[in-house]
Each structure stands twice: as structure tokens, then as C-alpha cells.
């Protein structure tokens, strides 16, 4: 319940979620800008000159059949995969193509994997601790000590994702849904400018879904959020702008209604079911 309350009057509660002054320059234009991006594995074109722009503070849903290249797209943005051609810009200052994952992450792009990945050997608390925005170089990390204020931050997030009770249990014992939440919690600890959320509600109960939906919408505005999701219901519940990917490039873009009436899209999806 408390979560819900906080969601309603979030302005004073979620102050730590407010983006700190980050080097990202969004004064003119979008926070993420992908142009003519292509990548292929052994001849198979996973991404086929894809163009995509995400505006600052936008909440964007990306849907598309399996193999449409959704995850590969995220790999490219986060620096895991290098595209064969094209350019990817974070704000108007940072060319993501010549940065590696840690740089991109510390620049303020957080990512939640399709299959929830948390550190199963570590406790829930430790998972969040590692995620916490901090000096992440070697020696500072070695000599780091747990300051009270950090503790509070972590506890705050713990509460939000409703895992207080499991605070000191290894994350390995969490249920699928709980792992999803923990991972989202880790995202929050990172204080990112742009969140890439891959299938956040897979394996969640209705109620969990609602909370997720509320959380994500609440983030939008302060952070930019990109959600990849199969669950149309969920998409509908949060979507403002939807992008449909097919065979590695944008098939349609617009409001949920627009795309769902788009004949192309229908064909693709019917094709899927048939």
C-alpha cells in the first residue's frame, strides 16, 4: 500500500529519483537518436537500417514479434553489440558507438534484461548496494564503507519494490517476479537518465503488473523510459507512444490505437498467429 501512497504524492518522496545534473546535453532535441543502424549475424540481418528517436522524459513502448530485433537494439544502445553501420547518439554530445558498457552505464543509461539477471549469490541488499550510484573505480570500491545515508537510500528502494522482508536473503531464492522487481530496483539505484526495460512484467501477477505500470509511468518525465513488452494489455496500460519493430526496422510508430489499426502491423501479427 505504502508504495501506492508514495506513487500518488511522489514529488516530495522520490526526490532521490530526480536526475542529478548529468553531462547529457538534451537542450536541442532527443535524448536517444539512432540512425540507419544495421547489424547482421552470419548473414542474418538482426537490425536493418533502424531509425529511432526517444525524447527526453518520454515513455516509449516497443513491440514486435520474436526476432524483430528488440533485444539486439538494446544490446546496441548499451554497447554490448557493435552495429555494422549507422550512428547512435545519447543526447547531442555522446556518440555511444565509441563507448563501452560501463561508460554508457555511468553516463546514465540503465538496462533491465529480458530474463531477469540479479546476482543470485549476493543478498537482495547487496544487489542494490552494488547498483548504487557511487565511485566505481577499484580502490574506492575496495575501501568503500557502508554509510548510513546509503543504507537509507537502499532501504527506501527496498520498500518500494516490496522486498524489505527478504533484505538479507540471497537473491537466488527470489521468485521470478521478485527478481524482476529487484532488477528494477537496481535500475532505480543507478539514477539513470534513460531506462531500457526489457519485458518487465513477464511472469508477474496482475497486481505486480499494476505496480510495475505505476512505477514506470511515475518515472517517465524525470527519466526517459523505453519498454519492450509482449503483453499488449500492459503496453496499452502505460503506452503513450508505441513503436512496432519488424525484421529489424521500424514498421509503424504512433499511439497505441494508430498502430493497432495499421494494416501492416495487423498482417505481421496475424502472420505470427497463423
Amino acid at each position: 500500500m505504502s508504495v501506492l501512497d508514495q506513487l500518488t504524492n511522489r514529488d516530495q518522496v522520490f526526490d532521490f529519483l530526480a536526475p542529478e545534473a548529468s553531462p547529457v546535453d538534451v537542450r536541442h532535441g532527443p535524448i536517444l537518436y539512432m540512425e540507419d543502424v544495421s547489424v547482421s549475424f552470419d548473414g542474418f540481418k538482426a537490425i536493418n537500417n533502424l531509425n529511432l528517436t526517444i525524447d527526453d522524459g518520454e515513455l516509449r513502448c516497443i513491440i514486435g514479434p520474436n526476432g524483430a530485433g528488440k533485444t539486439t537494439m538494446m544490446d546496441i544502445i548499451t554497447g554490448k553489440t557493435r552495429p555494422d553501420t549507422g550512428s547512435v547518439w545519447f543526447g547531442s554530445r555522446h556518440n555511444l558507438l565509441n563507448m563501452n558498457e560501463p561508460d554508457i552505464a555511468s553516463l546514465g543509461i540503465g538496462r533491465k534484461f529480458q530474463k531477469p539477471t540479479v546476482f543470485e549469490a549476493l543478498t537482495v541488499f547487496e544487489n542494490l548496494e552494488l547498483a548504487m550510484a557511487a565511485d566505481k573505480r577499484i580502490l574506492p570500491t575496495l575501501t568503500a564503507i557502508m554509510k548510513p545515508e546509503y543504507r537509507d537510500q537502499i532501504d527506501e528502494v527496498l520498500e518500494m519494490i516490496g522486498l524489505q522482508s527478504l533484505r538479507d536473503r540471497p537473491a537466488g531464492i527470489l521468485s521470478h517476479g521478485q527478481k524482476q522487481w529487484l532488477e528494477i530496483g537496481m535500475l532505480l539505484m543507478q539514477k539513470p537518465r534513460l531506462l531500457l526495460v526489457d519485458e518487465p512484467v513477464a511472469g508477474m501477477t496482475e497486481q505486480e503488473m499494476e505496480r510495475t505500470a505505476e512505477l514506470l509511468t511515475s518515472l517517465a518525465g524525470k527519466q526517459s523510459v523505453v519498454v519492450v513488452e509482449h503483453d499488449m494489455g500492459f503496453v496499452r496500460s502505460i503506452a503513450r507512444e508505441v513503436t512496432v519493430l519488424h525484421q529489424g526496422s521500424v514498421l509503424a510508430e504512433g499511439s497505441m490505437d494508430q498502430v493497432s489499426n495499421d494494416p501492416e502491423v495487423i498482417k505481421v501479427y496475424l502472420g505470427e498467429e497463423a
Binding site: T78, K80, N100, E101, P102, A105, S106, G110, R111, F113, T117, V118, F119, E120, A121, L122, T123, E126, E129, L130, A131, K136, R137, I138, T141, L142, T143, A144, I145, D168, P170, G172, M186, Q190
Partner: protein
């Protein structure tokens, strides 16, 4: 206390570490007393032979701890740690060779015997400085450290992981073995370095020196253990576990995985070097066979037997296996390899958490890293 040394002190407040240190100290003290206080004949007496033997086990234990640090907590299965051990050993060996001075069979004040009879005219440049203890002891740390740094830098930067890494660490130690076998290298080729006389002015043949070395090894093990423990209980330790279990995730959290790996790898290599350096004066010889991949793999098995990602497990494993070796090679030589082989198989198949795992079954899972070991995914 200042935050900078906190990480080293933390382990000392930890129960498991206190127990370990307590037992280790007790063992060393008891052996010392039994060696000095009891008469030669008596049943209680611990002979110099046994002392040296135990000293050797402790060296192996330190080596195993070093391997456990990278394998258990970083998920890097190094099949080349014998190389760092041997390099540390050679650094010490070179110092001991220089200490012989003109007491060699040819009485050459500078050149070691093997150089004289292969009629080398002068000392190779890389042998200079090893007549000074401080220099040699520095090299014990620096040489393995440097190798680990260069190798690790290349490997981790280009994200060589898992099996590939294991295989090339093996290639590394194999290449070094071949290199040190070459007599042109100036390390005594197959015969290696031997016939040492004294260390820091103490006669290596005197029981006193042996006891001293044994105690020194005990201390080294204690320190090494605390250092490793300090690392794994620090936030960095948790990060390395993170790298081990979900490397990509760790990257997306903004950690430079390759640097974490490099740091821990180098520390581990240095510990291995120290182990090697203490090993050489006690067994009295260092030669290229210490580089053999087989030996490196054996080390890993000690750790596996003792229990991964619990440093004390590594110690238990190392001591047990080597004790067994000493016994078996005496009583039933032919069975020895069967036993060792069977051990490898049984441990990996039926005892994935090693002996430490058994111990932990006893006490209910606590939240120390011991419990983490149970979550280890290869």
C-alpha cells in the same frame, strides 16, 4: 578507524577468520614446541623432516588460497597459477644461488656452477641485483605480479573468458616451462637451481633455519588469508562475485569488469609468488617442472576438494591432498595416481562444494560468503 584500512581490519572481526587464524597459530606453536622441547627419541618429537614437510604443505596452502581467490570469487579458472608460484620460486632461488658465492664446486665468486661448466663468461644482466635480499624479495612479488598484469591486461581487456581463458593460462605456463627448460635462458635448464647454502646468513641445513622458515610460512599464510578475506568481504569482493555470476549485468551497472578482474588476478599472482619463494628454500630446489600444466591443474583440484569460494576450504584441500600424496607414495606407489584420479572425479561429481560444503551443511546457512559458495554457478 580510517576508511582506507578498514577493508583489512574487517576480516579480523569475523568469526570464521578468527577461528582459522586461531587454529593456524595453535598448529604452528604446537609444532614448534614439540620440535624444540621434546627429546629426539620421544614419540611426541617432531623431527626437522616433519617440520619441513609441514612447511611445504603451508606453502601449497597459500598457493591454493591464491587460486581460490580468482576461481572462487572471480570465476576465473586459472590453469597457469603454477607459473606464478614457480616465478616467485625462481626469484628466491636466484637469491639463494648468489648467496652460495665461492662455495660452489668451481669456487667461482660470481657465477653459479651451472654457468661455469657451460662456460659462460659473465653473469646475464637479469641475474644482477639478486645478491641483495631486498631486491630479490621485491622481485618475488613484482615478477609474478608483472606477468599477471600484462597477461591479464590483454586477456580481460578483450574479454577472453571461461574455457578460453583457462586454456591460454595453460598455454602460458606450458610456454614458460619450455622456455625455462632451455639452458640458454640461464636458469639452469632442467636441473634448475639447487645446492643452496644459506638464506639471510642462516645456514639452510640447520634445524633452526628450517623451523624459522616454517614459522615464516605460517605467518605468510595468515597474512595472505587476511588479505584475501579482506578483499572478498569488501564491496570489491561483492563486485567480483557479481562479475563471476553475471558479468554483463555488472558492466551495465557501470563497473569496469576487466579492471576488477585484473586487480584480483594480480593480487592472487603475487600471493602465489610468495608461496613459491617460501617453498624453494624448504625443498631445496626449483626447476621447470613446477611450470608443468599438470601441477597447475592439481592445485585447482586441491581447491575443489576443499571447497570453492571459502578460502579456508582451499587450505584444507591443499594440506589433505599433499598429506595423502606423502603417505601414498610411500606405502602404495602404484595406487597413488589411481587415488588422485578418482579423487578428481568423485569430488567434482559428488562433492561440488567440497569439504567446506559438508561443514556448512552442519551449521545452517549463514550470510557470510561461505553461503555464497553454495550458489556458485560455473
Amino acid at each position: 578507524m580510517t576508511s582506507s584500512n578498514m577493508w583489512l581490519l574487517r576480516p579480523l572481526q569475523e568469526r570464521s577468520t578468527q577461528i582459522f587464524l586461531g587454529l593456524l597459530t595453535a598448529a604452528v606453536v604446537v609444532v614448534t614446541i614439540l620440535h624444540l622441547a621434546t627429546p629426539e627419541g620421544s614419540a611426541l618429537h617432531v623431527s626437522a623432516y616433519t617440520v619441513t614437510l609441514l612447511g611445504k604443505y603451508l606453502c601449497y596452502a597459500l598457493l591454493a588460497v591464491a587460486v581460490d581467490l580468482v576461481w572462487g570469487y572471480l570465476g576465473i579458472l586459472s590453469l597457469g597459477h603454477g607459473a606464478f608460484f614457480a616465478l616467485g620460486g625462481y626469484a628466491m632461488g636466484m637469491y639463494l644461488m648468489r648467496q652460495i658465492g665461492d662455495r660452489g664446486v668451481y669456487g667461482d665468486p660470481i657465477l653459479p656452477d651451472f654457468m661455469v661448466f657451460l662456460n659462460w663468461q659473465e653473469l646475464p644482466w637479469y641475474w644482477h641485483g639478486f645478491d641483495m635480499a631486498w631486491f630479490a624479495f621485491a622481485m618475488v612479488l613484482l615478477v609474478p605480479g608483472a606477468l599477471a598484469f600484462v597477461f591479464g591486461f590483454l586477456a580481460f581487456r578483450s574479454r577472453v573468458t571461461g574455457v578460453y581463458l583457462s586454456i591460454i593460462t595453460q598455454a602460458l605456463t606450458f610456454a614458460l616451462m619450455l622456455a625455462f627448460f632451455r639452458n640458454e635462458m640461464g636458469f639452469g635448464g632442467n636441473n634448475g637451481l639447487t645446492d643452496f647454502k644459506d638464506i639471510l646468513g642462516f645456514d639452510l641445513r640447520s634445524d633452526g633455519t628450517r623451523l624459522g622458515l616454517f614459522i615464516a610460512t605460517g605467518i605468510a599464510l595468515a597474512v595472505g588469508y587476511v588479505v584475501c578475506r579482506g578483499i572478498v568481504t569488501s564491496k570489491l569482493g561483492r563486485v567480483s562475485v557479481a562479475c563471476r555470476d553475471a558479468e554483463a549485468r555488472t558492466r551495465f551497472l557501470g563497473y569496469r569488469v576487466e579492471r576488477v578482474q585484473l586487480f584480483v588476478f594480480v593480487v592472487s599472482a603475487m600471493l602465489a609468488g610468495v608461496a613459491g619463494a617460501l617453498y624453494v628454500p624448504q625443498v631445496g630446489i626449483i626447476n621447470p617442472s613446477e611450470f608443468s600444466p599438470l601441477f597447475s591443474i592439481e592445485i585447482v583440484v586441491w581447491v575443489a576438494l576443499g571447497g570453492r569460494a571459502t578460502l579456508y576450504g582451499a587450505v584444507i584441500g591443499a594440506v589433505l591432498v599433499n598429506y595423502a600424496k606423502t603417505v601414498f607414495t610411500g606405502v602404495m606407489p602404484d595406487a597413488w595416481l589411481f587415488a588422485l584420479g578418482a579423487l578428481f572425479v568423485l569430488v567434482t561429481v559428488f562433492l561440488p562444494k567440497g569439504i567446506a560444503g559438508l561443514l556448512q551443511k552442519r551449521r545452517k546457512a549463514t550470510d557470510d560468503d561461505g553461503a555464497n559458495a553454495q550458489e556458485v554457478a560455473a
